[in-house]
Amino acid sequence: MPIYIRFENSKQIETTILSRKPAGTEWLKAPEEFDWHKCYCLDADNNIQERTEDDLSQEFVGNAKVNAETTISQTIDKYRREYAGYSFEKSESYRIQATAARNILQANKAGSAVDEEDLSVVQPLAVLRSIDAIEMSTLILQKARKAKRALAKLEECEDKTEQELAQCTTLEEVSQYLNNLEAAIESELNIGATNG
């Protein structure tokens, strides 16, 4: 019973045993020495050749890197949400608080009257914590500065990891890199946030 192989981008994709050649131009009859456990490709002259170990491993390393990028962006996003707010709505809320707090502190420093609208954002939060509006505004700004530094650090991390990942040449290297990544981000962020 003849074996037929279908190629896509000159690489073996699909293989079957059938009495007649399946429909479609991509199907070719397998060579006599065909082995199911091996992988084949088409050379420049459309002859069927066995793929080399290097060729195969490069394909898997390439796939692993694409997957790793997905993992990295998801991991970094997870931390971004921690500082930027878990939703667009929460981020908008942080932004309004920070603006109001900044205005209040500036007015206080200049000895001018505090804007009522800014006060209406900060005052209820201060009352809940039994502190005054100035102290509350200071707290909000500290948190906003910390988030700013963390987000900047994450941008740096993302760029850096993409570069470093591109330099990995084996599956083991990719795997090892990913294993170290999350721990590295966590410690960098902690250091950055504490120093801030």
Binding site: M1, I13, E14, I17, L18, W36, A68, T71, D77
Partner: protein, 381 residues
Amino acid sequence: MTIAKEAVNALHQRLKDLSVNASPDELAYLSKALESMAGQSTVYDIVSMSDEKLQELLDAATQHLADLDTSKTNALSSLQSATDGHVITLNNQKDTNITDIDTAGLAHQQVMNDLVAGFSSVNDVPEGSTILTEVAKKNMIETGSLPFLFGVINRSNDYWGYGAYTSQLGQWYANTSHIDYAMQMITGATGYTTDYCSFYRPPQLSFLQGINGRFIFSEMYAKYSVTTNEYTYPYALVGTIFIKNTTNADITRTFYFGGSSYWSSGYEGLGCFVATPNNVNDDPSAITGITWANVYSYASSTSNVAGSANVTVPANKTVAILFYSSSYYYTGSYNHYTQFMHWYIYSFRSGFLTTGLEVDVDRTLRAWQCRGLQYTYQLWN
């Protein structure tokens, strides 16, 4: 009558007495009176006449009685003779019938004895065997049903807990050395303890449907993203169907199937395999191994690929077709990977089955019910 008779006799005697010395007038009167009483004849005539008639009647009656008595005696004698004759006939008939019944009974008994001996020779049920209860259970599968086994094995798609694995059991899509592991997982004929045996959907007895004989499973799902292992070692969808060739010639047919596939680490893909035992069904205990052959493989990413392959079922053997597909990774966002899994068989009743081929229900039930086997070939014993 008796009084009248006595009166007439008395009157007659008086007339006699009177006639001796009666006057002529008296005689005339008496005579006249007597005539008016008796008409033309004298009373005496009448009386005398009655006695004679009575005597005649008596004689006639006596004669009739004597005749009747004789006739009765003769009739009784005839009846007795006839009855005796009939009794003898009935008795003889009875003996003939009994002989006939005995002869027929012995013939039937011989047929039954032959049947029992024949049954015993092919079903030598040892003491304590549970085979008869098993036979009863097999009636659960309706005639004409096409049962098979299907389940979804968790490689790393659920990440945590016992039983998950990545590359330990090798590639499955095109490797006859490793695909027996898939068979071990789906049938439970394995020696592992808690390794490699975690199921998203435990193996179920399923049935091909309709005149076409198809079964299609699909599910899209999102999983919290912990590691890319979740989709580079995704769910393995595995099903197996046992097919028996009851003829003395090999039969080759086309098997139709399809499903999802992902291609990244080389441990995904999609493949179809056939397990052939090293002996025929006449002596199942002689089956000591199975050989796996690849009939189809797919090494790329797609939500759906429909394939077909020729499968040969050798004469008097049961083969198992095993079809494996992997979950297709579609996209990832907001801490979740979205994947789609698909597995199907179609045109099995209409395109694969033919005279001499049938689903091997015994082996299917054995595979389903996990009787503590260690090796997959034992499913054939």
